[in-house]
């Protein structure tokens, strides 16, 4: 691992202004609350479609996204709703998408966390064939390099996707061209039900970076500031012409692959260890309390703000109309103007 670099561990001094730290905590709490509420609604049969929980991995999502500027682009997966919220997506429109409504970012053409907001927050609309967005991120990074505008692309995939050929194609190509891109692997230790040891024969994913001639680092994905430090280094390197980097952020997927999966293949002791000792939300909250950045009243207020935001967004989503049936085949071609105009809102709120 000759080219691996070591980020500063979360140091005692504050790495970010207090306001940013509080915002991080808010996003962690909001994401956790959204995840829990969506799961309850799903199990009650009140949420259509599928649900992919990112619980336990919020440290990775918030840590990498806070290293980005608004103009930088993010290429996430279905597990990374927290990263999209951290990038700036509006929770109202996110939940409207979950309920298949016209106010969703994709106007009902896709569901759940297969979401994106390219024109606004520069996030790529998630696709299932992972790591399908890795080659696309190469293209975006090429455009930034060509324009010389200092922007950066950051792509996330899971440990499972590192077994796919495109992962290697994309990293290799970006390394050859020294493109401004950051490759993040959210290693939550299971690809659906398959554990790390059946996915790759090297000890870590990070050490593969040296084979492509780029820096690679492995961090604790439950420590948001550790992730943030590694991501900031990588983003700075990309922004200043230093080329791509690989970050492996290790955490554990607390829930199943999707809402229907009880994840009995995850050893109970491992899960308990992570839930009790490595909860990224609780640990960060305790850290900020100890540091004096927040007190109990602020923590309670952030929690209340998150709950209010969810309930308002849920109500917004249910009040938003379904897309109109007559629009089903619009927007295949650019020239019909569907995506440049306001969509019809006469679809009603009762599904059929």
């Amino acid at each position: 691992m000759a080219t691996t670099f070591e980020p500063d561990a979360a140091a005692n001094e504050r790495p970010l202004p207090d306001e940013r730290l509080r915002e991080m905590l808010y996003l962690l709490k909001l994401s956790r609350y959204v995840d829990e509420r969506l799961e309850a609604l799903y199990r009650q049969g009140r949420l259509p479609g599928a649900l992919y929980s990112g619980r336990g991995q919020e440290g990775t999502h918030v840590g990498v996204t806070f290293a980005l500027e608004p103009a930088d682009s993010l290429f996430p997966t279905h597990r990374d709703l927290t990263a999209q919220l951290a990038k700036g997506l509006d929770l109202n429109r996110v939940l409207a998408q979950f309920w298949g409504r016209i106010d969703g970012y994709l106007r009902g053409r896709d569901g759940n966390s297969h979401i994106g907001d390219w024109d606004g927050n520069r996030t790529f609309a998630v696709m299932s064939h992972l790591p399908i967005a890795y080659p696309v991120a190469v293209g975006a990074a090429w455009a930034y390099q060509r324009a010389g505008d200092g922007r950066v692309a950051l792509a996330i995939c899971g440990d499972g996707a590192t077994s796919n050929g495109r992962w290697h194609e994309a990293i290799n190509t970006s390394a050859i061209m020294r493109l401004p891109v950051v490759w993040v692997v959210n290693n939550n230790q299971f690809a659906y039900s398959t554990p790390n040891e059946k996915e790759f024969a090297v000890p870590t994913i990070a050490e593969r970076a040296s084979a492509y001639g780029i820096p690679g680092v492995r961090v604790d994905g439950t420590e948001v500031l550790e992730v943030y430090a590694a991501a900031s280094d990588a983003v700075d390197r990309a922004r200043t012409g230093g080329g791509p980097s690989l970050i492996e952020a290790v955490s554990l997927r607390w829930r199943g692959h999707a809402g229907h999966d009880p994840a009995k293949y995850v050893p109970r002791e491992l899960l308990e260890h992570y839930m009790l000792s490595k909860d990224p939300v609780k640990n960060f909250e305790a850290y900020l309390l100890a540091l004096g950045v927040v007190d109990d009243a602020v923590v309670a207020e952030l929690q209340e703000r998150a709950e209010r935001a969810f309930e308002a967004a849920h109500a917004f989503a249910l009040a938003s109309p379904f897309p109109e049936r007559g629009d089903v085949s619009k927007g295949v071609w650019v020239e019909d103007g569907y995506w440049r105009s306001q969509p019809g809102r006469d679809g009603g709120t009762e599904g059929s």
């Binding site: 509420r37 609604l41 199990r43 049969g45 009140r46 709950e307 049936r325 089903v328």
Partner: protein
């Protein structure tokens, strides 16, 4: 009161088993507190409560397997009237938590699919009546043609009808002696376009002898202050002349029937989106009315006839004039050979002719040769119309507005049905009241009984 149902956890799941009740009758529950454990083909999980309240009833025994959507528990949440939760997915329902009663009637938010196929229970489509030249030709009239000789291609059938060619007299040159398109065109009369000999429709200038005396402006009321004066356009003038000529030269009478089009309205409502996607034109009632009218015209050919001097000319084909209003006035483009078309073809022809009429792109021969005419003021709200006959046709049919009306149905019950008045102005020189009425009755019967689903390619 909230009724808790077996949830659907996964799109392929159809049933679930209650493994264990975690709450029992009389227990208080908080929102999101676990109520029971279930097991399905994909998952074992706890089901959290959508509401806070008190469990009032367990409806299913532990260990029982029930279909998704079955009510399994009731919770008194203080909301009073019964509501249920748990089926399918959350199409509606207020937010949970502190914002108020959480559960309302859950409506499945299934993905958008094709519209349901309409089934009307109507009897199968009646076969259209073959014309004299349409059936199998008699074996004696033609030389031996071999095994395939009886096959007539779509265009051969159509041309023979359009041009009045008796196929019994045509020698086929195709494989096995089959009659081909060029055989029909080469047959006596086959190459003559009948449209050319059929008289004229607007806009045109009739022969001087037929011109009615010009309309005199009322002398007592010349144009004055506050009134605008514009010369009549050529088209307007042609329409005026043509209409007046019809009024003075035909013996016009009028008959009306009322038609129950309930099943057509349902069919159209269910099928219009899919139809437009498939065929690129709107599905309206007019093509269906034309299709049934053509059928009636074939049964009562006199209604499709015209007078030339003392001769009654009866075509064995139908060219349907369709009155179209456009910025310049009124024009009657003609669907040639409409009797060889199905309803889809007619819908297309109407859309095409109407669009080109409004774009002023009709060719002269496209407004000539009508053997019968339909006018369709219905979309503008007219209930009953008395149209002027489009000379030299024997009749003109009017399709007025479809409206919900209380009607007496079977068993002398009163019901709300979609009804329409269909009427015909007809020339008493050619037709009598009995024929006109039987013709309209046939149109009515067709409209009330035909199942258009197949004809529309649905």
């Amino acid at each position: 009161m909230t009724s808790i149902q077996m949830p659907q956890l996964g799109e392929t799941i159809v049933e679930g088993t209650i493994l264990k009740w975690l709450k029992h009758e009389g227990d208080a529950v908080a929102t999101d507190e676990a109520l029971f454990e279930i097991s399905t083909d994909k998952v074992d999980t706890e089901v959290p409560s959508p509401v806070a309240g008190t469990v009032t009833k367990l409806l299913v025994a532990e260990g029982a397997t029930v279909p998704v959507g079955t009510a399994v528990m009731e919770i008194d949440d203080g909301s009073g009237s019964g509501s249920q939760t748990g089926v399918g997915s959350g199409g509606s329902g207020a937010a949970g938590g502190s914002t108020g009663p959480a559960a309302t009637t859950a409506t499945a938010a299934a993905p958008v699919g094709p519209p349901p196929t309409a089934t009307t229970g109507a009897p199968p489509v009646e076969p259209t009546l073959p014309s004299a030249s349409d059936g199998p030709v008699s074996a004696a009239a033609v030389p031996d043609r071999g095994a395939r000789s009886q096959i007539l291609s779509p265009i051969v059938r159509r041309l023979a009808k359009e041009r009045g060619v008796d196929l019994a007299t045509v020698v086929g040159t195709g494989d096995g002696g089959r009659i081909t398109k060029s055989d029909v065109l080469a047959a006596p009369g086959g190459g003559t376009a009948p449209a050319a000999s059929l008289g004229v429709v607007v806009p045109t200038t009739p022969a001087p002898a037929q011109v009615a005396p010009p309309v005199q402006a009322p002398p007592s009321m010349p144009a004055g202050t506050g009134e605008d004066v514009q010369p009549m356009s050529h088209i307007r003038s042609a329409i005026a002349t043509h209409m007046l000529a019809s009024m003075t030269q035909t013996a016009r009478a009028w008959t009306m029937v009322e038609v129950n089009v309930e099943h057509l309205v349902r069919l159209r409502t269910a099928a219009k989106d899919g139809f437009q996607q498939t065929y690129g034109v709107k599905l309206t009632y007019l093509p269906m009315v034309i299709r049934t009218t053509v059928d009636a015209l074939r049964e009562f050919p006199l209604v499709n006839s015209r007078l030339i001097g003392d001769d009654i000319v009866t075509p064995r084909f139908v060219n349907m004039g369709v009155a179209v209003s456009y910025d310049a006035g009124l024009i009657v483009p003609v669907i040639k050979g409409v009797d060889a078309m199905n309803t889809v073809g007619i819908a297309r022809a109407i859309a095409d002719l109407a669009a080109r009429a409004r774009a002023h792109q009709l060719q002269p021969d496209e407004v000539q040769g009508a053997t019968f005419t339909i006018t369709n003021p219905g979309p503008y709200g007219s209930l009953v119309s008395v149209p002027i006959i489009n000379q030299p046709n024997a009749g003109i049919l009017s399709l007025d507005a479809i409206q919900k009306r209380p009607v007496v149905v079977e068993e002398d019950a009163i019901a709300v049905r979609h009804m329409v008045y269909i009427s015909m102005s007809w020339d008493h020189r050619l037709i009598d009241g009995e024929l006109a009425t039987r013709f309209l009755a046939r149109v009515k019967h067709n409209l009330q009984t035909w199942d258009f689903a197949e004809d529309l390619g649905l």
